[in-house]
């Protein structure tokens, strides 16, 4: 187990290194630099700016400095917002994104599991078909469509919620729903299919034959086992919520990481793009890492040192 985890950690660091190098060289490959603008900047000022950001040094030296700074968790200064470090931008934005993300995870896990159970208990009946349809719809409708539909109908037409911003608790409702739809749909499908499998298992028949109540069978015997595949979905769910948050934050005007990411791309703020990319990557990799560990703890049948097949 320890050996497996160390190996995983090693590959995580290696992947991060590849990503960091890739972002660095990609950003350097872009013609021009952020100090080029329509207004001609005087040569001396430009030279000073370049010296400040180390752009006057040779490429390999810039690369080494960059890696060295990364090891010290220094992501550098934003190129567009003066006197602001990338880390401080991430610090302010992450708080909002994290809150929204946690709400979305709670909502999607509960909604997904409840829907999945309802579908499985009504196998091949109307409620089952209806839930599957909802789930397929949830996977198919892009979240910017969901977000803007919510904004239009609940915000503009019905005026139930504020159209944008994140000032009081009701403002969380629409962004959370928009973020949760896709993962909830996935979880509902996962829960349904594993519930169907578990419900035909022998130990369920035994429990029923012993005369246990349906509720105990459902919660204590079936659900506990059926929930396992949902745990494997934690990693992909984090990825979905991150990509989702980029869109949802932009639509609802929330100053989270996603919004900074979009802005950094439109402004070509290279240090910020690089910093945010690495930050997202770390979060995702950690999510995958913890999924692996959690899975091994929940299901003792899983041996972590067995190699992945297929």
């Amino acid at each position: 187990m320890t050996r497996y985890l160390l190996k995983k950690l090693f590959y995580m660091v290696l992947s991060l290194f590849v990503l960091a190098s890739a972002t660095f060289f990609l950003m350097k490959a872009i013609p021009g630099n952020p100090f080029m603008s329509e207004k001609e900047i005087p040569k001396a000022i430009r030279a000073m700016l370049e010296a400040k950001y180390g752009l006057d040094k040779p490429l390999w030296s810039q690369y080494l400095t960059y890696l060295n700074n990364l090891i010290h968790l220094d992501l550098g200064m934003s190129m567009k917002q003066q006197y602001t470090t990338v880390s401080s931008i991430i610090g302010t934005g992450f708080l909002y994104s994290l809150q929204l993300g946690i709400f979305a995870i709670i909502l999607s896990v509960t909604a997904g599991i409840v829907l999945g159970i309802i579908a499985a208990l009504n196998h091949r009946k109307f409620l089952d078909t209806f839930t599957i349809f909802l789930a397929v719809l949830g996977v198919s409708v892009p979240n910017f469509v969901v977000a803007s539909a919510l904004q239009y109908f609940l915000g503009v037409k019905l005026r139930w919620f504020d159209v944008a911003g994140l000032n009081d608790i009701t403002d969380y409702v629409m962004p959370t729903i928009a973020l949760a739809v896709l993962p909830a749909a996935f979880i509902a499908r996962l829960t349904r299919s594993s519930m169907l499998e578990v419900l035909t298992a022998d130990y369920i028949k035994t429990a029923r034959a012993k005369g246990m109540s349906g509720r105990i069978i459902l919660f204590r015997h079936a659900l506990r086992n059926a929930i396992l595949p949902v745990v494997t979905y934690i990693g992909p769910m984090t990825a979905n919520i991150i990509t989702g948050s980029v869109i949802v934050e932009q639509i609802f005007g929330i100053g989270g990481l996603g919004k900074f990411f979009v802005n950094s791309i439109t402004n070509r703020d290279y240090t910020l793009i690089m910093g945010l990319t690495l930050f997202y990557a770390v979060i995702l990799m950690l999510a995958r890492f913890f999924t692996d560990i959690a899975y091994a703890f929940i299901d003792p049948r899983i041996k972590l040192n067995s190699r992945k097949e297929g």
Binding site: S15, V18, L26, S140, T243, Q250, I273, G310
Partner: protein, 318 residues
Amino acid sequence: MATIETKHGQAVDPQGLTKADFQKLDHSEKKGEVVVRESISAWKDAWLRLRSNKYAMASLIILLLIVIMALIGQSISGHDYRSQDYMATNEKPSSNHWFGTDDLGRDVFARTWMGTGISLQVGLYAALVDLIIGVIVGGIMGYFGGKVDEILNRICDILYSIPNMLIVILLIVVLEPSMFTIVIALSITGWISMAWIVRGQIMQLKNQEYVLASRSLGASSGRILFRHLIPNAIGPIIVTLTMTVPNAIFAEAFLSFLGLGVQSPAASLGTMINDALKAMTVYPWRMLFPAILISLTMLCFNIFGDGLRDALDPKMKK
């Protein structure tokens, strides 16, 4: 040839058979070998299963309609997708402009179908590139195994652990956004899941007798791989492909949302939705049709893909 006669000189059978029934037949009359019922190949079987799935068939028909409209939609609208009309901007749907007009007075009907075409093309090309790279790399990994597999698998692991959307965004920021670069960027990490699926299939199949037979007849590795193994793994490959298309369409729409999609005057559904979003509170109908179409396309691909998986691999069905 001596005939067998009973004591009474006449062959009598309780079932009413006479001597004539025991005559030797010549070749032309041997019908016993003929297959009376039409033989059902694996493909036909899958097709029959697919055909009985009414949701999958409905999705297929809708998808075909969408493709046809993407091809002819612009010409039946009577408007060019690029021509601007500053006298008629942001119009509601009318008999002249069936889906209304956008902020530059361009016909939304023509643009929607044009955009559908672009979105579908992005999906198809991305799927095609994934298919080619994924099948080759996955085939090599599965077939040769050992060190080759180990090294390629590590490379895949590392590439896969890099969040793909981030790499796609970075690439598009560097390369200029166009359909070509979007497809390339999506394929950089997109082929990995295909490669893993092919690898798993090949590893299962390569110890089958027909592979041994082929090898003992002197077939080369390439021939065994591409003539025997990959055709037998085609089911999961097709299913993965049907799932790649909607993912690519969604990814393209996501990129458009960041302003990194297909550039004006061309449009994809994603760019149209993004443009319409800016004025959604005032002109909501501009958003309506592209949003419906992208959702419908993805919905049909997902349902059809599910149906196809059930049809090609009934064991998977739940």
